[in-house]
């Protein structure tokens, strides 16, 4: 991107050698470099304790870096904090809400904190409450909101001043599938329609894969890999092919053919599977080999690598189960309290 284009829409993020060391604590962030292009959704993927939140706190001016530099929307987070805060919105991992205030009162507080003109405050608040689907609950105290409602309110609050860069720290952890889907849709809309840059942390592979334009994988305070989900998977993980012969007696022959193209990996049920030595272009050759050997196949499937394969390749561990408590699996839907709407 040229200088001119950058000036016209200067809401990217540039991070160089960023470090945060806690007193009597770990080097939570241990020298990370990353660039987020304006209007992009950047997925910061890593297990519990990897340093995601610490990075978000530094980028949002809540925590000064120990070393290195970071520019958000062209402004230095260490020396231009006040200006940075005007440009950004953030929904932190633990939604900071006052249980005594209603949703609408939170909006009133937030619009005033950001100095919106008085005449616009109520309209802006109502509009955002509507957008996150909290109109019916707007006049109830937040103390009685479900986890999902609190997250949605927190997102709405982060948007009151029309930020150009949005930070979302694990926005879907603990959300039911429906709330997650609507949050994904809203994040995508913000990026595509409004050109908002989104920096989103997650422990979920699927979220990084489906939502993010680009992904940074963080582990123990360091970036293990960075790129588009497709490029990351193409770089490390090779696809696997799974076949199921119609005649079980011909399994050994089928296995012999498959092993010419890759190495055996566990398969489901009676099927056979290999991780390919090359890319998916060998698929045609595999089909031809079975054809000429006269082995009829009940099914043939191609499995793309996942970001977990990428994580495994880069760190030697699976992302799933790497965290202390949470797994990379999507959680079960949480129960909304009775009467919540």
């Amino acid at each position: 991107m040229g200088q001119g284009a950058r000036k016209a829409q200067p809401n990217g993020i540039e991070v160089e050698g960023l470090v945060r060391e806690f007193k009597n604590g770990p080097r939570a962030v241990d020298g990370i470099d990353l660039t987020v292009e304006p209007g992009e959704i950047y997925g910061f993927l890593g297990p519990n304790g990897a340093g995601k939140s610490t990075t978000v706190h530094m980028l949002t001016t809540l925590l000064p870096p120990t070393a290195g530099s970071a520019r958000v929307a062209g402004l230095d987070v260490a020396t231009q904090g006040a200006e940075v805060r005007k440009m950004i919105g953030a929904a932190l991992q633990e939604a900071a809400l006052d249980p005594n205030l209603t949703g609408r009162e939170h909006m009133k507080l937030q619009t005033a904190l950001h100095g919106l003109p008085k005449a616009q405050r109520a309209r802006r608040g109502d509009e955002l409450i509507e957008r996150v689907g909290l109109s019916d609950a707007a006049d109830r105290r937040v103390g009685g909101y479900s986890g999902g409602m609190k997250r949605r309110l927190d997102l709405a609050l982060a948007l009151v001043h029309g930020p150009r860069v949005l930070f979302l720290d694990e926005p879907t952890t603990g959300l039911d599938p429906q709330s997650r889907a609507s949050l994904w849709a809203e994040v995508t809309r913000l990026s595509v329609e409004d050109g908002v840059t989104v920096f989103l942390t997650t422990q979920y592979l699927e979220e990084a894969d489906q939502l993010a334009n680009r992904v940074g994988i963080i582990d123990a305070g360091r970036i293990a890999a960075e790129g588009t989900p497709a490029a990351l998977k193409a770089e490390i993980g090779r696809p696997s092919v799974e076949v199921l012969p119609v005649d079980p007696a011909r399994r050994p022959e089928a296995e012999e053919i498959l092993l010419r193209f890759g190495t055996a990996v566990p398969a489901s049920g009676e099927a056979l599977s290999v991780r390919l030595n090359d890319g998916i272009e060998v698929l045609a050759a595999i089909v031809r080999s079975f054809d000429s050997a006269g082995i009829e196949l009940a099914s043939l499937g191609l499995n793309e690598p996942t970001l977990d394969d990428v994580f495994l390749a880069k760190t030697g561990r699976h992302l799933e189960g790497a965290g202390e408590a949470d797994s990379g699996e999507m959680p079960l839907p949480e129960a909304e309290p009775a009467g919540a709407a």
Partner: protein
């Protein structure tokens, strides 16, 4: 700061003050702890202790009015300490981060709390003044004297507020509550609470002489009596403490910023 920056600054401060008052008035019980001590003193003095006022060397015109000076400074200071509690609670419960993120100039947060505290103080004053008048307090000062007296109350409020805010920003936990409250209590009681300064004897006499609270107390009592004395000293002491503790509180805010 340009005009729009200034508007943003005061808008943020007003927002903080609004929330402080909103939460206060939606839970009026919050007022009780700040009033228990002052009203307890008033009751105690109006009863048995008022005999002190009959001793020949007690030269103030009215014992209840004499005590009101102390009650005013005490209630105003305690109201300031309770702001420290609110700040600590906000940081403990996460709202501190929202305020830190949403305000571009963060000293607006402190200003907002202080403004909220000043408005809260009016309610406190109405209650303690009303009760004292019902208890038969005689007021001799004129309107200007009384305005000056309440102003000393406001200044003690700001002093205590800055002191406790400095602690709240540093500890960011309600566990630091005693650290905010105890020093203020001790300073209040190391002043001529029950008898005029001249009648103090023993170790408390030199302590009270250098205690800044003594200057505030004497000033307030003289204004109540309509015979202002030591007013310049009282205001000077208050201004000095506000300057020092203002730095203490703002440095605390920086510490809170560094800690995330």
């Amino acid at each position: 700061m340009n005009d729009s920056g200034q508007n943003m600054y005061f808008s943020a401060a007003r927002a903080v003050a609004w929330r402080y008052l909103h939460n206060l008035y939606s839970k009026p019980a919050v007022f009780i702890p700040g009033l228990v001590f002052p009203l307890f003193f008033l009751a105690a003095f109006a009863g048995g202790l008022s005999a002190v006022g009959d001793t020949p060397r007690f030269d103030y015109y009215d014992f209840t009015a004499f005590q009101f000076g102390f009650i005013l400074i005490q209630a105003s200071s305690l109201a300031g300490v309770f702001v420290g509690f609110s700040i600590a609670a906000d940081f403990e419960q996460g709202m501190g981060r929202r305020l830190m993120l949403a305000t571009s100039r963060r000293s607006a947060i402190l200003l907002g709390y202080a403004a909220g505290a000043a408005l809260r103080l009016i309610v406190v004053w109405v209650i303690i003044t009303g009760v004292s008048l019902l208890a038969g307090m005689e007021v001799r000062g004129n309107g200007y004297d009384l305005a000056g007296m309440y102003m000393l109350g406001l200044l003690s409020n700001v002093v205590a507020l800055l002191f406790s805010a400095g602690i709240a920003f540093r500890f960011r936990s309600l566990q630091a509550g005693p650290l905010m409250q105890m020093p203020v209590f001790i300073a209040l009681f190391l002043a001529p609470v029950y008898v005029p300064q001249d009648l103090l004897t023993g170790w408390i006499e030199p302590v009270a002489r250098v205690n800044p609270v003594t200057a505030l107390l004497n000033g307030a009592r003289s204004l109540m009596a309509g015979e202002p004395t030591g007013i310049l000293l009282a205001y000077g002491v208050a201004a000095g403490m506000i300057a020092l503790l203002g730095i203490w509180a703002l440095r605390g805010l920086r510490k809170a910023e560094m800690a995330g």
